[in-house]
């Protein structure tokens, strides 16, 4: 039996005090000097363990406090209160919310799945990936227990073209001209970063993590550094057409190269094939209303992998409206299925992959694997302030990470994500992530459920899902 894939994680402390949602406010005025102060009774020891970080001028009490409010509710002088931390409130944007950011920090630190008490606390549904639920097995369809190790759930995907049929020669021997194939043990590659205070050390951390996880990482050709050579096997150089000639050595050493689709990439593909027959070619093309047809053309031209991408929030601007990455990638998938050529190419989708559930949902919506980008930066403590986009300094000095530290944080994050993917696969009763691709039958969509139930009762839906607007 082949070795079971397992991601080893261990706690890696953050370099900076993480921004917490709530903040304790306590002041001395009005203190009654009780013999037994409530602060001494904190069962988390928040008041005893708090320290002051000189460099960041920050009190650590909020990182220890678990929000039980016992001190707030017990102090006789009522001099302790807790409220929202304005820094937390301002963090991120409407897609990359503060909650998402801080949950990724937690996973990068601990490598653990976020587990908590009490029921779900969020909105009923939402835009993007939040308008679908994954299904489960009930009573008679066995589930799979991937987490406690009682059953092995395979998250491996193979990248490349697959043969649609075998052929045999006169002697009955199979004639195989199997195209190259790469197996990665998780349905994720690391995508090109849309922003970030990037440096050689950042790329070393990320490429190191990719190598240890045995997946691939896209790195722009201009960011290449000879120190990255040790990870060359796992690096996908991203090249423009002009760079193909100037970076021949990179193409030589890579298993896969990525070219940005210029609309005439079929020709480039042909040239690459002739010069480097062993190198797989991934073409990165934008998701839009013409994408299904474009992907068909590229697939028929022999691309091994097609990377379809949305913007970093998963949005796809089409003529009629702004769609979400999963909606268009479903169309791409369905189009190829209709043509009977879905397996002749691997589809990787990206844009808006912010949490583990998005990986599973992206695969359900037709991708073989997804490309993870921004969360890699979150693992390195990015706060999504986007100062780097304006050429300003990074508040958490991402450019100065130690590669080993960064690598361990990213491995933790992906390890936690993989465990969560195992949870949903197990609940669905699937033992293979490959079985999940395009399997919309194992998902439920807001629109469908509304139409089948409330639509029958109340008629026509007039509102877009009203995300949290209360009367």
């Amino acid at each position: 039996m082949p070795k079971k894939y397992h991601i080893h994680t261990e706690t890696v402390a953050p370099r900076f005090v993480p921004v917490e949602k709530g903040t304790i406010l306590d002041w001395e005025a009005g203190c009654l000097r009780c013999f037994k102060c409530v602060k001494r009774k904190c069962i988390y020891g928040a008041y005893n363990k708090r320290t002051f970080d000189i460099r960041q001028l920050s009190d650590t009490i909020d990182n220890i406090c678990r929000n039980c409010l016992i001190c707030v509710q017990s102090c006789p002088g009522q001099i302790i209160t807790k409220t929202i931390n304005p820094e937390y409130e301002q963090m991120g944007d409407s897609y990359w919310t503060a909650d998402i950011i801080s949950r990724q920090w937690y996973q990068a630190e601990t490598g653990s799945i976020p587990v908590s008490g009490a029921g779900y606390a969020g909105p009923f549904s939402g835009p993007g990936f939040d308008d679908m639920w994954t299904d489960m097995s009930e009573i008679v369809r066995p589930t799979r227990d991937g987490i406690h190790g009682r059953e092995y759930i395979n998250t491996l995907v193979s990248l490349g073209r697959k043969l649609a049929s075998f052929a045999f020669d006169d002697q009955g021997e199979p004639v195989l001209d199997a195209p190259a194939e790469i197996e990665i043990p998780i349905p994720m590659i690391f995508g090109t970063l849309p922003f970030g205070s990037l440096s050689k050390d950042v790329y070393l951390a990320m490429a190191g993590a990719a190598a240890e996880l045995e997946t691939l990482i896209e790195i722009p050709a201009e960011a290449w550094d000879k120190d990255l050579e040790q990870y060359a096997r796992y690096i996908v150089p991203v090249l423009s057409e002009e760079q193909i000639e100037t970076h021949a050595n990179l193409i030589e050493s890579a298993q896969v190269v990525e070219i940005k689709d210029s609309g005439k990439s079929e020709g480039v593909l042909k040239t690459l094939r002739e010069n480097n027959p062993d190198t797989m070619v991934m073409i990165k093309t934008a998701l839009n209303e013409n994408c299904p047809q474009r992907v068909q053309v590229l697939a028929e031209a022999g691309a091994d992998i097609i990377h379809v991408y949305a913007d970093r929030n998963g949005n796809v601007d089409c003529e009629d409206k702004t769609w979400f990455v999963k909606d268009i990638s479903r169309k791409v998938h369905d189009h190829l299925v209709d043509l009977g050529i879905r397996d002749s190419v691997t589809i990787i989708s990206s844009g808006g992959i912010a949490m583990a559930e998005h990986v599973a949902k992206g695969v359900i919506c037709g991708a073989d694997a997804v490309a993870v980008d921004v969360p890699l930066l979150l693992a390195l403590e990015c706060r999504m302030c986007l100062r780097c986009e304006r050429g300003l300094s990074c508040p958490v000095e991402i450019e100065n990470v130690y590669p080993e530290w960064g690598k361990a944080r990213i491995i933790n994050l992906i390890g936690a994500w993989r465990n969560q993917i195992l949870e949903v696969l197990g609940a669905m009763g699937l033992r293979e992530v490959r079985r999940l691709r395009g399997e919309v039958g194992r998902a439920m969509f807001f629109e469908d459920l509304e139409a089948q139930t409330f639509g029958e009762l109340f008629g026509k839906r007039i509102a877009e899902p009203s995300h949290g607007v209360s009367e």
């Binding site: 678990r66 969020g122 299904d135 406690h148 583990a356 609940a427």
Partner: protein
């Protein structure tokens, strides 16, 4: 805010709210049971500056009992009773301008989209007084933007004055198979969900049992054994048989009127249960016949059930062991939940208990809580309609749970097609839960509710817990009565499946 509900309250001596004593009846008495922590949390905060001369004007003008004069001093204001800026009487009346009002900053860190600060605060209020809160506190809906929170009733009349509360029936039968087994009826269309010894403290567990007994309904042991302390309440206890079979013995099955098979839990459908080692104290371990300090996993699914035939065998097993008991089958809400319900009927179950995906838990992976299986609002409609089409709706009791937070949620669930509901989180909130979500870790709940830590468990007294829950259910019953009255009904059973009484704000014609 509805006038009639308040009509039942006497505002006594600067507004300490008490219920008018109703005639000695089948209904338990509400008794004022304030927060057990010194500083109750309310929506607003009043500050009294040193300029106060203790003239007592504020106490005279306040309709809600916030201010009180004690001897020649003003007592600490009861902030949590204050209805805020819409009243503002004391602030305006103060001759010394010593009072100032602001929103309580704590409301920014408590609660969430499903359980808004308003819902927490109003549930605390109901548990204290047995009444709905005055003022603008939202006690009917949360802020999730879908499902119950977007559904409203189409009332045909305004709240009536002086309703005869007792002339309305909120009782529902649970045995609709009429198969010679116990004819169990419950006094409210609600009973308590499974919470195990181990996940919650003994006082929580017994307090629940006593409150449900008072209202002639049921609590559920969850999967973790049947502590001796529950024996006096046997007729109001449902015992659970879940996949780990922790604490299940022939004797426990025979004690009760209802046995519940837990196939799945809405908060973590398709996944097993998990009690972290920290919470496995020697007592918990003894009850579960396990080793103290070691984490306990309930697998998923029942490893003895891989077909509908196995499922029937399971139910037959319980029926043979306890010839009087009803059997409830608790499942979660996959896409084929309607088929599951029909299968359970043919296997001989009396109750199909659907637990929707937004249900409560003592510990679950966040990815599961949010993503796996469908919200209960859809599942009720699917199952109700399918059972009707199959011609067996009258022979099965449909119970819904998973995100039912308020009396209005209960009534909406019934109007969508359930016979009754199961609750859990609302009870925890009544006992002082603030949804800090740390039930699972370390010593458990620091507020002494969901913990078996010997020291923390002492934070809550049994009498207090019992009365808080009795009060909450009393407040809910008042609301059921009002809803029925406003729909022109007198019996909660009339409301089942009456979707014509509902409108959805996101649909045409609402």
């Amino acid at each position: 805010m509805n006038k009639d509900l308040r009509a039942h309250r006497n505002v006594e001596e600067h507004g300490t709210p008490v219920l008018q004593s109703s005639s000695p009846s089948e209904f338990p008495q509400v008794e004022c049971t304030p927060c057990r922590f010194r500083n109750a949390i309310g929506k607003y905060r009043l500050r009294r500056s040193d300029a106060c001369v203790a003239c007592g004007t504020c106490a005279e003008v306040c309709p809600y009992g916030v201010h009180k004069k004690k001897l020649n001093k003003m007592a600490r204001p009861k902030h949590y009773l204050c209805t805020g800026f819409e009243c503002n009487k004391c602030v305006e009346a103060c001759p010394e301008q010593a009072l100032s009002l602001d929103e309580n900053p704590v409301t920014k860190v408590i609660g969430d989209r499903r359980w808004t600060p308003d819902l927490l605060i109003s549930t605390w209020y109901m548990a204290e007084t047995g009444q709905v809160p005055p003022g603008g506190v939202e006690y009917k809906i949360g802020d999730s933007g879908g499902g119950f929170d977007r559904i409203r009733f189409k009332f045909i009349k305004e709240p009536g004055e002086d309703l005869d509360i007792e002339s309305f029936s909120t009782r529902i039968p649970l045995n609709r198979l009429k198969d010679g087994r116990a004819d169990v009826e419950i006094g409210l269309p609600v009973y308590g969900g499974g919470m195990s010894y181990g996940s919650i403290s003994l006082n929580t567990m017994v307090g629940r049992a006593r409150a449900w007994q008072a209202w002639d309904s049921f609590t559920c042991t969850g999967e973790g054994g049947y502590p001796q302390e529950l024996y006096p309440y046997d007729d109001h206890v449902i015992t659970q048989v879940a996949t780990g079979l922790f604490g299940v013995r022939e004797e426990t099955i025979q004690r009760v009127k209802i046995v519940e098979f837990k196939y799945a839990q809405g908060a973590k459908p398709g996944l097993g249960g998990h009690l972290l080692g920290d919470k496995v104290t020697p007592e918990v371990a003894a009850m579960r016949e396990a080793v103290p300090g070691s984490s306990l996993f309930s697998p998923f699914p029942f490893h003895s059930v891989y077909s509908v035939e196995d499922h029937k065998k399971h139910i037959d097993w319980i029926k043979a062991m306890n010839p009087k008991a009803l059997v409830s089958v608790k499942v979660s809400t996959p896409t084929d939940v309607d088929m599951v319900a029909v299968g359970s009927y043919y296997a001989g179950a009396h109750i199909i208990h659907l637990d929707g995906s937004y249900g409560g838990t003592g510990a679950a992976p966040e990815i599961a809580k949010k993503n796996i299986a469908m919200p209960i609002e859809y599942a009720i409609v699917k199952v109700h309609n399918f059972l009707k089409e199959e011609g067996i709706r009258d022979r099965m009791t449909v119970i819904a749970s998973g995100g039912v937070r308020t009396a209005y949620d209960v009534a909406k669930a019934i109007a969508l097609g359930a016979d009754g509901v199961v609750i859990g989180t609302s009870e925890m909130v009544a006992l002082g839960c603030i949804r800090c979500k740390n039930c699972e870790s370390g010593r458990g709940c620091t507020r002494g509710i969901a913990t078996t830590d010997p020291e923390l468990s002492q934070l809550m007294e049994l009498e207090w817990a019992t009365q808080r829950l009795i009060n909450l259910f009393g407040a809910w019953r008042l609301q059921f009565v009002e809803i029925l009255d406003r729909l022109g009904m007198t019996d909660i059973r009339e409301l089942v499946g009456r979707t014509d009484c509902l409108r959805h704000l996101d649909y045409e014609g609402s």
